[in-house]
């Protein structure tokens, strides 16, 4: 599972544009993840984040 650190996120949408599964969405001023779509294996979102707001949690 990915964990969004809301106090770090700048809700910029960089991660949304690169997510290959369309699992992320910027709703107004917060980022959401659709866990049915995210397989949290690719780590693309946590890599691209300019602030380091996305962490991968061990199951």
């Amino acid at each position: 599972m990915i964990h969004i650190r809301r106090d770090v996120c700048g809700y910029c949408g960089a991660c949304v544009s690169v997510c290959p599964r369309g699992a992320l969405e910027l709703i107004d001023a917060y980022l959401t993840v659709d866990e049915t779509l995210c397989k949290s294996k690719c780590k693309i979102c946590s890599t691209v984040c300019p602030l380091g707001a996305i962490e991968l949690e061990e199951q």
Binding site: G10, C12, A14, P20, G22, E25, P50, L51
Partner: protein
Amino acid sequence: MKEAYDVLVVGGGPGGALAAKAAAEQGLSVLLVEKRPAIGAPVRCAEGIGKEALAEFIEPDPKWIAADLDKAVLIGPDGTKFTIGNNHSGGKVGYVLDRKVFDRELVWQAAEAGAEIQVHARASAPIMIDGKVSGAVIHQHGKTYEVRAKVVIAADGVESKFAKWAGINTTVPLTELETCAQYIVNDIDIDERANLFYISYTDAPWGYIWVFPKGHRCANVGIGIAGTKSGEGHRAKDYLDRFVAREFPNGKITELIVGGVSVCKPLECTVADNLIIVGDAARLSDPITGGGIYNAMYTGKLAGEVAAAALKKGDTSKMALMVYDTTWREGPLGHALARNYAVKESFIKMDDAKFNSIIHSMSDLSLDEITVKSLVIAIFKANPWLALELPRLLMTL
């Protein structure tokens, strides 16, 4: 909010605003929805734009112009500078905008033309009938509305979802997404009429650092790096913090801005049945500069006009809307994007020794015209060896 409109525009940035305005001016009923509570905020932009480009759409107004520029300065890895434009260029170069005010002005103009504007109104899904976009589900203030539209214009920016929901692959490859961080820094010594571009693999891998003045002793200081160069301990903000500590140790940071800019090729096709995609959502930001305001305004306006013409003929199929795609793609915008993509591919992976060598070679040159094309031609003239290394690029100029 009504149940049906001729045109629904998703997103209230420059692309959406120009689309809504153009469609409303043609007498169409238009709804523009912006998911955020305010137009123009938060800013996701370095705010630079060329004067001539801007003049195609709007009279300059001091209300939303933060700085008036007469030169651009490229700074190589070793600090060598190359200045384009000069004090004789008569301030033709460009502006740094105040996007918070600028975007609001554009949306006001759309409203004045007759478009309905709804803020804090989020499109959460397209309404699909027989596989064709026929409107959108809109959430606003805890209520859900089904809004029908004959044409939807997706102007939902880099974090675009609408086209993806409609079945179009809009995913940006990680290596072609510039991940960006920017501070507004106050109380710093800067040339208030010069945009600075720092080119250095060490300081900004596969990207660049910019210092764009925003008035007296104040500038947007930002960085973009390739998504694949980002990671724990070396993210865009980490690079930016190092740069600011070095160059502006006494600067006062008054705003943090983050964002993503695509530097990939545009979407393969920017229309579908009853759907037009504009600006950043269509991946139309410039692959070299990252600039997207003009491209969004141009395609937004074009989308509004094409939607109106198609509606008058009663045919908003993909075939009927294709004229939008071919007009921008085969016109100056499409050519500039294709050329600048080739330029980016050729230069982005150079090491600092090569960047230094190129900028040294230019030190005696003067260049008045600030365009990617004129710059690259000058680089080729000063560095004939590049023609051997980048023959394909030479062909595109």
